[in-house]
Symmetry: C2
């Protein structure tokens, strides 16, 4: 085809689209402009550079074989003309030109295009609070910001830090600060849980507790009201339910999310959603068929809700970049959308998920139910193993899987399970599809009945009314009110497991091993809610079946068992 | 519904079906018989018991919370009447009874059934060779056999062992013997590669090489002709292409596959396939609608070929058991088939796959092509990482994914990728589905462009004719014949990477860094096959595009690059 291709933005999607287009159509002239001095870097690696895990910032900008992806690389290896420190000012869709200005010389010029790509990314949101402009207040914006943060850390002048926001970047930055630099770190979050948009309260409690054990402090349900200090940030004043609190902080990281950079698109008259993302179709064309957009600046279809959403992830940008590269050259590649798969490593615990949380599903108007399961991530007889905790969100009626989230110390094992569910999501799986899901099996890697299969089975039992469960938080609430006598706590494990609770909570904690239950029904009250617990939720389900058969109709099973309750830090003290 | 349910076989599928049925229909009387003394155990754990990783055989028969799954457990906890050491002799489908005999008392009786489950499993094949009956020759049949093998090992009388068969069990047993007991172990296999039915030759070479580094010897393309010794096994005589060879062996493990136990079914007039598996429909009913079968004794539909096949895996048995449990109680659950996902841990290297190898695809009459890729399993800048090697088998024309196999030291990371592909297999994915596959992304777990996406991209390029590749074995063959001058070996890496080869193979190895290639085309011959190599196959693909554009039509790219060649032990010596 040939002609001029201009790409605005040179971090993730931009380079991918540019290089793919050039490979497919060597006759095309491909120009890629970016405001920053550095292009084509792994922005997701910034927390690992800040921590020192990645020693040199150049590594984030290199290929896997240590070639720096700079202007010369793009010219010699890729045949792409990259222009860093070049700002795109406006798009003239009639003339088909982009007005750009060199940030070094100030010179402006018009770049002609036949096809244009908007890969303008996103910018960190900055809370508009007093003191946000003080030195020492930083957002994780780009490599330049990352280098400034790390310089501050290595200078030794940072003793304490506040991270505002408990999303991915906030938590990853908190890990980087506390783990490698030993800095007294507090995470402030307006929501009542960490990772509030992607993780359920029970799993979030597990993640938070682990980070607390590693020395990170949390202020949840708290708002950063202002930042104070003499000429630089020295403390953050929080507004909480009980008043104000002041926390010392030489460094304040703002990690309250990002907003799509869609000003250029809006000014050019392209469709932009009310949330600020550029609107594209499945071919990733904007409302102007010669202009493509993708990555953080655009919205995509959520495969679970069917609605457009904003998913700023480097992996998404890379996959979309290839689709745009194809279509720049006359192809007809499609990007059908995403279910929102994610993962994060928090010290020695990892969390991962795909799709909707229960809360998100209900906000989307879906009649959803959630259930937790816990199981070893390997065959239970295999020596080196740990518990994995998964939560399923499913729709009543359709039995559709809306989301799965999890927490485990063996992160790869967890991420693998979520990846398998994610692969299914475009096919609108039901809980039965999880029950039947075929995963590779061998004792060093999984159980013969994999935890994903168990999750489907438990979901099936719940949706079919054969099981009724409460989560660990509801259990803890009921247990806190145990003196009301509303609930009868029945431990279905063998006596040695139950013994510490029986001793500590005499008369309030009861034990009938599940195998004996059918013969001891007269010990179980019919006028109170019977709360069944075992270790994982499996035996208490058997007990549930026994009681249901015997006509007990006020019985609930603690989902995921005491393993889940304990991991979330909600177990009764013994 | 109530009535009598009889289950023949009490290892994996049998207990699962029995317990599920009893839970769904507490009125039913469920009787489960098994020839063995132990029931409901994890047979796949036998190599880990033999190695000593699992210290007590009871662990293989326990729940994850240390309850032994014995007769009392099934009676008290599950409401199922388990009868070990009870052999099923025949089925009278008219009278609806099963004739059983107690192996302890010899007493025979008829068990009436309304619905019957055949969960008779499989038996190890024993090669009919002289000496196969000698003491010291063992198959990995059941827990009793496992205990006998371990007793022999712990007695200290075993110094050397031969494992006949390089399938999963053979290799796992070889690891157990060599790793934990330090026994001189030789694996004998008739096929020319290890794991011949599931792994491609290049990946198999990687697995074999790793095991050799750990001290296991291999005789591939060799046949165990006879076992000799004075009153017990002392040596194995092999027949190879070049004659006979004798290997000392105090212990001989026969691991040449298993055969379905379908004699009862056949004698009862049920449909049995020519391969010996009981024939069932999607509800897992045999040709008699009151009789179900599943697990190792039955065949299932291969979701890739559409043909029935035999997949003896404990995980499959467990999933099928639940379906049978449903249908025993009037349900209408379906088991659509399997794609054949598997994984195995071999010392510090793991292998995993799903679907067909290139060889299997071609034998199934499919016009298939294979391509290898290599990439770090985490972001390349993340400190703790290793190379992952994947192979894609795809069908020309339809572009359908027929299989993916891989090898990596980080087994969970590999198994996770294969699990995601496996989840897609029922939906008949194309290479484009792999390109677009949404996997959780974060630098500690993956690259922004995950290796599975890269695999899809490379597959797309190959199928679209934009890339042409040869595998590491073909490269090694061409290199061995380099004096013929047919091939021109062109290293596209930077000079320092190429330097050792340039020095050692002066005039036979050439180097033009890929970025310089367009300007140095006159150094590349047009009358010879140009073999492009780089580290991973990515830069040599760029070079391929450059040469193709310049009209070179005899160019191939070494798939997976030198990383793959080296891992398979096929790199030129330097």
């Amino acid at each position: 085809m040939g002609g001029n291709i201009v790409v605005i933005g040179g971090v993730a999607l931009g380079p991918k689209a540019a290089c793919r287009a050039k490979r497919l159509d060597p006759e095309a002239r491909v120009v890629m402009v970016d405001r920053g001095a550095r292009i084509s870097y792994g922005g997701c690696g910034i927390p690992y550079f800040v921590s020192g895990d990645v020693s040199d910032v150049d590594e984030l900008q290199s290929t896997s074989f240590h070639m720096l992806r700079d202007v010369a690389f793009f010219r010699d290896v890729k045949g792409v003309e990259a222009r860093p420190r070049t700002e795109a000012l406006s798009i003239d869709r009639e003339a088909k030109t982009v007005r750009v200005r060199s940030l070094d010389t100030g010179v402006e010029k018009d770049l002609p295009y036949d096809r244009l790509v908007l890969a303008t990314g996103s910018s960190p949101r900055i809370l508009p609070i007093p003191g946000a402009e003080l030195p020492g207040v930083r957002a994780v914006a780009d490599l330049e910001a990352a280098m400034a943060i790390r310089e501050g850390l290595s200078s030794g002048r940072v003793g304490s830090a506040v991270v505002v926001g408990a999303g991915f970047i906030g938590l990853e930055m908190a890990v980087a600060l506390a783990d490698m630099w030993g800095i007294e770190t507090t995470v402030v979050e307006y929501a009542p849980t960490v990772l509030p948009t992607v993780l359920s309260p029970v799993l979030a409690a597990m993640a938070q507790r682990h980070m607390e054990e590693k020395g990170v402090a949390f202020r949840l349900g708290a708002q950063a009201a202002r930042i104070e200090g003499e000429g630089k940030a020295e403390r953050v004043v929080l507004r909480t339910a009980v008043g104000e609190e002041t926390i010392a902080a030489d460094l304040v990281i703002m990690a309250v999310g990002v907003a799509p950079n869609s000003e250029l698109a809006r000014a050019a008259g392209l469709d932009v959603s009310p949330r600020g993302g550029v609107v594209v179709d499945e071919t990733l064309r904007t409302s102007d068929p010669d202009i493509f957009a993708g990555g953080d600046c655009a919205e995509i279809k959520n495969l679970v809700t069917g609605q457009d959403f904003f998913l700023p992830l480097g992996s998404l940008a890379n996959r979309q970049g290839r689709v745009i590269g194809d279509n720049l050259c006359g192809g007809d590649s499609r990007f059908p959308g995403a279910a929102g798969a994610w993962c994060v490593k928090l010290f020695e615990l990892s969390a991962s998920g795909v799709g909707l949380t229960l809360d998100a599903a209900r906000r989307a108007g879906l009649d959803a139910v959630a259930v937790q399961v816990s199981q070893f991530d390997r065959a239970h007889f295999y020596p080196d193993k740990d518990f994995m905790f998964l939560e399923l969100v499913a729709e009543r009626g359709t039995r559709r899987v809306l989301g799965v989230q999890g927490v485990c110390s063996l992160g790869d094992a967890l991420v693998g399970r979520i990846g398998a569910v994610s692969a299914l999501m475009p096919h609108r799986p039901t809980v039965t599809d999880l029950s039947l899901l075929e995963l590779p099996y061998s004792p060093p890697f999984s159980s013969a009945m994999d935890i994903v299969n168990v999750l489907g089975n438990v979901g099936d039992n719940i949706l079919s009314g054969r099981n009724e469960s409460i989560d660990a938080l509801a259990f803890a609430e009921l247990f806190a009110e145990r003196e009301s006598g509303k609930a009868f706590f029945l431990d279905c494990r063998e006596q040695p497991n139950a013994a510490p609770y029986l001793a500590r909570y005499f008369g309030e904690w009861h034990n009938i091993p599940q195998g004996q239950l059918a013969g001891r029904l007269d010990e179980v009250p019919r006028d109170r809610t019977v709360v069944l617990v075992c270790n994982s939720g499996a035996r208490s389900y058997e007990a549930f079946v026994t009681l249901a058969k015997a006509g007990f109709d006020r019985v609930v099973n603690v989902a995921g068992g005491m393993a889940t309750v304990a991991k979330a830090g909600l177990a009764p003290e013994v």
